[in-house]
């Protein structure tokens, strides 16, 4: 079993995959309980200059370039350039899903999104309807593909499929319309933190103080 898991992990990371505690529980648990495995995988990946690290919330492992050289810098530029194009859309999509996610408030790796809950929330909030229309229009203008349609449900389906195509969601139950956020979302949240450090996002409401424990 461990040899299979080891091989599975190596292949997964070679393909640029993310291993999240909820989305990939068996792989994550194996990594967490097996430091020797982490070392072996890093040894394997180091032959192409890659290593695995965790996101800031410690819930996702993912591969990164180990050193900065000409080749890796070109890859970094490509990654950042690609992501800058869709960054606004990603944040807009995350904004829509607040309140529709199980076991979390904002998207994070492993959280579950049910389409019916998302649609209901949007239907009941005119602000979210406007957000959805803007996002749908942005995605439509960003590239070829089917349009979002006119109805709220069709636009919701459209943005969810877009998120799925961009590796942020994976379908877990087609009957109930349930999707799980992948570990890529934890990676995006790390990018958010970097972004907020560089720009001055005004805080409209300050976070409340926590109550002391008894």
């Amino acid at each position: 079993m461990s040899a299979n898991l080891h091989a599975k992990l190596c292949k997964h990371f070679l393909e640029g995959g993310f291993v999240n505690v909820d989305a990939n529980p068996d792989l994550f648990e194996y990594l967490e309980s097996n430091h020797a495995c982490v070392d072996d995988i890093n040894k394997f990946l180091s032959s192409i200059g890659v290593t695995i690290i965790k996101t800031a919330n410690h819930r996702t492992w993912y591969p990164v370039w180990k050193q900065l050289n000409e080749a890796s810098r070109r890859e970094i530029e490509k990654t950042v350039a690609d992501h800058k194009k869709i960054y606004r859309h990603v944040i807009g999509f995350f904004r829509l899903t607040i309140g529709a996610i199980s076991h979390a408030s904002v998207p994070q790796g492993g959280a579950v999104l049910r389409i019916s809950t998302l649609s209901e929330l949007i239907h009941n909030d005119s602000n979210l309807i406007d957000r959805l229309k803007v996002l749908s229009a942005r995605l439509n203008s960003a590239g070829p593909g089917a349009t979002g349609g006119e109805s709220i449900q069709s636009m919701v389906n459209y943005v969810v499929r877009w998120a799925e195509r961009n590796g942020m969601l994976v379908e877990i139950n087609a009957v109930h319309g349930e999707y799980r956020f992948t570990g890529k979302v934890d990676w995006i949240n790390d990018m958010n933190s970097s972004f907020e450090e560089c720009i001055d996002v005004p805080l409209e409401v300050e976070a409340q103080e926590t109550l002391p424990l008894l």
Binding site: I53, R73, E77, T79, R95, G99, R131, D190, I199, P202
Partner: protein
């Protein structure tokens, strides 16, 4: 007493529809005339009461019983309920002490039983409510409420009530009450066993539930802060269309997330020589069908009286082709033959003039469409006729050297 309970439960069962309606409408119900006898029965057993506006409302004690049974709000948190029991306990203790001088054993025992009932009500009720509530908190950390703000408000309220209950339980250990309880041996033993000894357990359970609530609240507030950050970020990006994200790619030390390895597409092929794949590949190959696709059928016109599919046309073989084939067979058998001489002996095979036969063979020769095996050699024969050198016959012979190869 038992008969009384039976009558009471019968009355409640008879009025179950009205009871359900009263529970679902806490602000009161104005029943129709046909429900009057049920309402009268409920009022008589004090399961319902008439409110100041003339509506009928469910008795609060019964409401709390239904709340607990349906786990809707939980009695936990309504400290006034327990405060009432504690007040009643003090009253029962006083009543017991006042009955002692009368030395009426029946009366004293009755008063002691009242004390016991209050102790049991308090301790058992609180223990059950706390455990029900603990189970709810542990399985529903987000609590009720559709928004984060509502969830935080519910958790804060529950936590506040848990803390109030801890205080209430402390009040039960008031010095005055303890002194009063020491005044009679039976009473002291009863209270030690049924009340004071259980208070420690209750307080410990309450502390644990309050701890869980506090933890949930802490996490909810963190979650709320995260949600607010995301909303603010989205607003910021929406308001400023010219915003430029930082140039992470040009930094000397880009952040780790920017160094993400996008991955490579891995492709591999099965090794047909491998023992591992040999049988599987063989099985796959046999499953692949190599059938020709069906040719599309010609579309017929959309006629009302569709005559159906046209008959397949069978081309008839020409007399010349049949005769020439027969001639070549004879040449192959005999080794040679002259076309005109053969025709002279086989008029039935080709009942046409000689020059037609010769002309058709001549045409095939000229067009290179003559159909003979490779080993058959063909030699046109010409003769001088008047001033022309005309084809008069064709000699066919089998090349014996190539035939023997």
């Amino acid at each position: 007493m038992e008969d009384h309970i039976r009558q009471l439960t019968n009355a409640l069962q008879t009025c179950h529809l009205q009871l359900a309606q009263l529970y679902a409408n806490p602000q009161g119900v104005h029943f129709a005339a046909e429900d009057e006898r049920y309402v009268t029965r409920l009022l008589r057993v004090r399961a319902a009461r008439t409110a100041h506006d003339g509506s009928i409302r469910l008795d609060s004690t019964l409401r709390r019983f239904f709340d607990r049974s349906t786990n809707r709000r939980g009695v936990f948190g309504q400290s006034t309920h327990y405060q009432v029991i504690l007040d009643n306990l003090e009253t029962a203790v006083e009543a017991y002490l006042e009955s002692l001088p009368f030395a009426n054993h029946v009366l004293i025992q009755e008063k002691l039983n009242n004390v016991f009932e209050q102790c049991d009500d308090f301790a058992d009720g609180m223990r059950t409510d706390i455990e029900d509530f603990r189970a709810f908190v542990q399985t529903n950390p987000g609590f009720s409420g559709s928004t984060l703000e509502e969830k935080i408000r519910y958790n804060e309220n529950r936590l506040r009530r848990a803390l109030e209950l801890v205080k209430n339980v402390d009040m039960a250990r008031s010095q005055d009450f303890i002194e009063r309880a020491q005044q009679a041996d039976d009473l002291r033993q009863m209270l030690d066993k049924e009340f004071f000894s259980r208070l420690d357990d209750i307080q410990q359970r309450l502390r644990e539930v309050a701890h869980d609530l506090s933890q949930n609240l802490f996490e909810l507030q963190l979650a709320n802060a995260e949600a607010i950050r995301l909303i603010n970020l989205d607003n910021h990006l929406a308001k400023d269309p010219e915003i430029v994200t930082p140039a992470w790619e040009t930094m000397d030390d880009p952040p780790q997330w920017a160094r993400v390895f996008q991955g490579i597409k891995l492709t591999a092929y099965p090794n047909p020589d491998s023992d591992v794949y040999g049988e599987s590949l063989g099985a796959l190959i046999t499953q692949i069908k190599d059938e020709l696709p069906d040719l599309p059928k010609p579309r017929r016109g959309n006629e009302v009286n569709d005559p159906g599919e046209p008959e397949e046309k069978v081309m008839k073989e020409s007399l010349y082709s049949a005769a020439f084939f027969q001639f070549i067979q004879d040449v192959l058998e005999s080794g040679q033959g002259l076309a005109m001489a053969w025709l002279a002996d086989h008029r039935a095979a080709f009942p046409f003039p000689d020059d037609v036969w010769l002309q058709m063979i001549s045409n095939d020769l000229a067009n290179r469409t003559i159909n003979v095996p490779d080993r058959v050699k063909i030699e046109p024969l010409r003769s001088e006729v008047v001033d022309e050198y005309l084809l008069t016959d064709v000699f066919f012979s089998v090349d014996t050297e190539s035939a023997n190869v």
